[in-house]
Amino acid sequence: MLYIKCPHCGLRSQNEFAYGGDASVKRPELNKEISDQEWDEFVYLRKSPRGKHLELWHHVSGCRQWIKVLRDTSTHEIFNTYKSEEKVG
């Protein structure tokens, strides 16, 4: 079970969190013309990298904040965690 450092609450076990997928996905702006392909990529297509991955976790059983976690998908090493508004990299 992962041990995730919530930037608001501190180190907590994984069972307090819900996984939220790739944090680098940006929702297209509202009211913007966008091609079918671009939209489909946003809705459906995700990379599944082996190695470093910036992802979203929701501290559902804690502070209810969405946070970003930089994690290695093969070793589960967590390099850093960030608040939702923090810029990463």
Binding site: G20, R27, N31, D36, V43, Q65, S84
Partner: protein
């Protein structure tokens, strides 16, 4: 009965306390401190079971967790437990156990015929035989395999014992209390670290309990006892015996199973039987020791063949002899300790040593004691069926290929030692690499992946001096990193006997013309010939060989067999062991009971039960409850002999005719507040929200980004910047997370806050033509006329001194209102409604009537919004704004979503107007069509229409829009029903929606 194999002056059992127990119905005695195994051996009982495949007789092989044979069915305090290892089960007064895998008895077992049919049961037998013919599988093969498989019998009764879970944190977790565990624990604890020390056996000390060493002029056991006593007195140390750390998971989380009261006749009150510990450790010390491995020879599974270290442990810990005419068969020095121990107890062993010679200290000692040692000698085969009676021995050539003349010598046990295998399971589970260490012919941990270190014989270090030194150093070093303290301990002085090299010899060749079975895996009956067959048949990867032959797949997970299997595969393949590699180590290290895994999460404790504030009233008034998510809701209120159908029909009819009240507390409620709340709702919902005035409610639909309907509900503008959103009961938590996602990550610029208020409000839906009259009496000071409180209106009002919110919204399709009060006043509100409602023939109604009312009205709910439907499919496309953008809108342009014959919500009536249509039925054109019969749609919800007095269903049907009036068939293979139906509008009652506005 006399304990013929019990020694008088040796062992750690309490001879003052005699315990009686029963094995296979026969009564025996043992002592406090015995295991079931040691007590049986003391009584001369060596036949305890039958093997898995050939039903060959089984005795004892080890003395602990590695035991492959002595698996029994245990009876304790009215419960029964399968797969208990007799070598681990401590004796208690009145213990009862039985042999498994034998019928009718362990002495006469009919399954043993397999032993004589063994040429028909080679590796892969099941795969080869039970494949064909296919039709035999269910009726013949599967029942046969089920009967043959498995050792014990699981109880069908509910387990009355209590199991608990515990979460713990520490600086240093130490797995195993042998010399390396004790030393590192002591050094770290003295340096201020928070330490947990876990030992799977009842006694601490590991190898120190049986080895002939001295530490600081004390015996190994005395030293261990003193360290443990001191550790137990320290507040920063937790010491646990009977506690097995069985799994190493991510981020240094380990799981430990503590057998709290398994050693007692019954669990004490408020004490669990077992406790599962989830431990998050900053550092882990793996001091799990090593397990002796056997040498493979003919009939090496005969009862009486035991590990040499186990024979020594039975003597030194339990004061029990495994035999009185022992053969010690070894390829190394450590077994000489066993021989010497026999000799000290006036038993004359014969040592067969595969080496040509050894002049180490301990061999010299054995010689000086007059022990008969035969170098270059091996056991060729054990003789005897239910117990060893003699053995064939022979001199072996230097290259270990040829046997000289075979001699038979009498013996009653063969103590075998093929050197030591480090227990690297935890280190490997953590993700660390392993490496093959040539000097010891075994794998040891290499680079560790997590924060762990492996010490002592688990790391392939077999001298006490080096073990203690590195363990004291490591314990100090690791604790210093955590505590910054600098209190190091002096490393004690050790005296031990130096050992010489072991012989790289593990398997005795077959003498010419003999076909002895030579077993590798004792529990699953995997012999050398099975592995040879698998390789001949083309299996190469060790993982495949394992699965094909079941080597190492029994409940002992190959603790004594894996390495010899690897040796054999590498010999045949002409490779070295590291090139073959080992199979993956996975948790759990030992079998863990299901009860321990489940813990307290059983029955009503498995999930929270949420009850509305009116629950007690419902209970008193004969409500029959139904689970709605985690909530309990009244399904119907039973009167007299009514069943579900009659009661719900009566309740629904009364709503249509008079007035009913339904507890709607469980609906999800979310407060949406802030200056940008309207804009936020406008983006979340498909319809327009910017112009909703204060005091008005609106029905809204929200989508996922892929265009699928996520949830629906009404949201009311309470004041300028305050909205009260409702969600379905099931989706409440998901909707809140969804809103938080968009507010925190996508549109953080919006000044809006959301918070769940589900628990804060109790709700009652009052529905029916007389609902306004009732409401007026409940709120005499409030104008609830059609003008004062129109459809979708909202007012705050006073309910006999209690603040209430009235929403004029309707799920039933009748003139209806929802009244909310603070939860604490819920019951007060409910009782007032019931009391005053009497004048209007009010009846409470449950979820079943609620469903009936919404289905015949064509209102969609969870069964239509099932995660597969877009607004068009459910007839909600009128609520999709063309002007503004919202979550999921772009997806609605998809071609598939705009096909002309797109599926759509319809009503379905059986032609005979009598037969109810099972939910989930498929709609097809031709009931006799060839399978798979093309499915045009499915029945999503069914009810008995109280308005029309005939069955009515909703369905999602392909081209539903143009299918009204057509005749189809509803087929339910599950219920074996085919019903001719007509497709009608989904609005079966009041299609113009006049009642809600009346």
């Amino acid at each position: 009965m006399v304990q013929n194999y019990r020694l008088d002056k040796i062992g750690l059992v309490n001879r003052e306390k005699k315990l009686s127990f029963k094995f296979n119905g026969k009564k025996y005695f043992g002592y406090e401190g015995d295991t079931l195994a040691s007590a049986l051996i003391a009584n001369g009982v060596h036949l305890v079971g039958r093997s898995f495949k050939y039903h060959r007789p089984r005795g004892f092989f080890g003395a602990g967790v590695d035991e492959p044979y002595a698996i029994v069915q245990l009876y304790r305090n009215g419960e029964t437990e399968p797969n208990v290892r007799a070598t681990e089960q401590e004796l208690f007064e009145g213990l009862e156990a039985k042999s498994v895998n034998c019928w009718p008895s362990v002495n006469f077992d009919i399954g043993a015929i397999n032993n004589f049919l063994n040429i028909f049961l080679p590796a892969g037998f099941y795969y080869k035989t039970f494949m064909w013919p296919r039709s035999f599988w269910y009726r013949i093969y599967e029942p046969f395999i089920r009967k043959a498989a498995g050792f014990g019998v699981a109880s069908k009764e509910h387990d009355k014992e209590r199991y608990e879970h515990k979460y713990e944190y520490c600086d240093l977790l130490i797995a195993g209390s042998g010399p390396s565990g004790l030393a590192s624990a002591y050094a770290a604890a003295k340096n201020g670290a928070r330490v947990i020390l876990a030992e799977d056996k009842p006694r601490f000390g590991g190898s120190l309990l049986t080895s002939d060493v001295s530490i600081n002029n004390q015996s190994g056991k005395e030293w261990a006892d003193n360290i443990i006593t001191e550790l137990k007195g320290m507040t920063n140390v937790t010491v646990k015996n009977r506690a097995q750390i069985f799994g190493y998971y991510d981020h240094n989380m380990l799981v430990m199973s503590e057998r709290v009261t398994d050693h007692l006749p019954k669990s004490e009150e408020f004490t669990p039987k077992q406790r599962l510990w989830y431990i998050r450790a900053k550092q882990v010390v793996i001091s799990s020791g090593s397990i002796e491995r056997p040498i493979v020879f003919g009939n090496n599974d005969t009862p009486g063949v035991v590990l040499a270290s186990a024979a020594k442990e039975y003597m030194k810990v339990y004061g029990v002899l495994v035999g009185k005419k022992p053969i010690v068969f070894t390829n190394n020095d450590s077994a000489y300790e066993t021989a010497i121990e026999f000799k000290k107890n006036n038993i004359n062993p014969i040592v067969l040593d595969s080496r040509q010679d050894s002049n180490s200290e301990i061999v010299k000692e054995a010689k000086s004691l007059g022990i008969d040692i035969k170098f270059s000698h091996v056991v060729v085969a054990a003789k005897g069926y239910k117990k060893v009676k003699s053995c064939d021995i022979a001199e072996i050539s230097e290259d270990k290929q040829n046997l000289n003349q075979i001699k038979n010598i009498e013996c009653d046990c063969i103590c075998v030692s093929g050197f030591w295998t480090p227990t690297i399971h935890l280190a490997s589970q953590s993700g660390g690499k392993t490496k093959f260490k040539e000097e010891i012919d075994a794998f040891v941990p290499d680079k560790s992946k997590q924060k762990e270190v492996t010490l002592g014989s688990a790391n392939g270090v077999f001298t006490l001096e080096e073990t203690l030194k590195t363990s004291f150093d490591k314990g100090f070093e690791l604790s210093k990193e955590i505590t910054n303290n600098n209190n190091s301990q002096q490393i004690p002085k050790v005296s031990e006997k130096k050992h010489s090299k072991h012989d790289k010899f593990w398997c005795v060749p077959l003498p010419k013309g003999k076909k002895y079975k030579r077993f590798l895996d004792f529990q699953n009956d995997v012999a050398v010939s099975d592995i040879e067959l698998a390789i001949r048949e083309g299996y190469r990867s060790i993982e495949h060989v394992k699965r094909y032959t079941t080597l190492g797949m029994a409940t002992d997970q190959g603790k004594t067999s894996n390495l010899n299997g690897l040796q054999l595969v590498s010999n045949i393949e002409n490779k070295v062991v590291p090139a073959v590699g080992h199979t993956t180590f996975r948790p759990p290290y030992t079998p863990i009971s299901i009860g321990a895994i489940v813990g307290r999460e059983i029955g009503k404790h498995s999930k929270p039960t949420r009850k509305s504030p009116m629950h007690n009233w419902h209970e008193k008034n004969n409500a029959v409850f139904v689970d709605a998510g985690v909530w309990l809701r009244p399904r119907y209120y039973k009167r007299g002999n009514e069943g579900l159908f009659e009661a719900s029909k009566r309740e629904a009819e009364n709503v249509r005719k008079n007035v009913g009240v339904c507890d709607v507390t469980t609906l999800g409620k979310i407060d949406v507040k802030g200056p940008d709340a309207a804009e936020f709702l406008n983006r979340v919902y498909t319809n327009a929200w910017l112009k909703l005035p204060v005091g008005k409610a609106r029905y809204g639909v929200m989508l996922r980004e892929d265009g699928i309907v996520m949830d629906d509900g009404t949201t009311t503008r309470i004041s300028e910047n305050h909205y009260h959103m409702t969600t379905t009961t099931a989706q409440a938590a998901n909707v809140l997370s969804h809103l938080e996602y968009y507010l925190q990550l996508v549109w953080p610029e919006l000044d809006v806050n959301v918070v769940s208020t589900t628990e804060q409000w109790a709700g009652a839906a009052i529905a029916g033509p007389k609902s306004r009259d009732l409401l007026q009496k409940l709120f005499p000071d409030t104008d609830v006329s059609n003008e004062g409180l129109p459809f979708m209106g909202f007012v705050e009002a006073d309910l006999f001194g209690v603040n209430a919110r009235i929403f004029r919204i309707s799920f039933s399709g009748e003139l209806a209102y929802e009244v909310n009060v603070e939860s604490d006043n819920g019951n007060f509100m409910w009782e007032k409604i019931i009391e005053i409602g009497k004048d209007f023939d009010l009846q409470p109604y449950g979820t079943e009537a609620l469903s009936t009312l919404r289905i015949e009205m064509g209102h969609v709910a969870g069964s239509e919004l099932d995660g597969r439907t877009i607004p068009y499919d459910t007839g909600l496309d009128g609520l999709v704004s063309k002007k503004k953008d919202f979550i999921g809108k772009r997806s609605l342009l998809k071609k598939a979503y705009n096909e002309k014959d797109r599926q759509r919500l319809v009503g379905v009536v059986p032609l005979d107007k009598k037969t109810s249509i099972p939910e989930g039925s498929h709609l097809v054109k031709d009931p006799k069509g060839k399978l798979p019969n093309p499915k045009l749609g499915h029945i999503s919800a069914s009810c008995w229409s109280v308005e029309h007095n005939n069955p009515f269903s909703l369905a999602i049907l392909k081209d539903g829009k143009n299918m009204i009036g057509s005749k189809l068939y509803a087929m339910s293979p599950l219920k074996n029903k085919t019903i001719a139906v007509e497709i009608v509008s989904s609005h079966y009652v009041d299609p113009k929606g006049e009642r809600v506005r009346s």
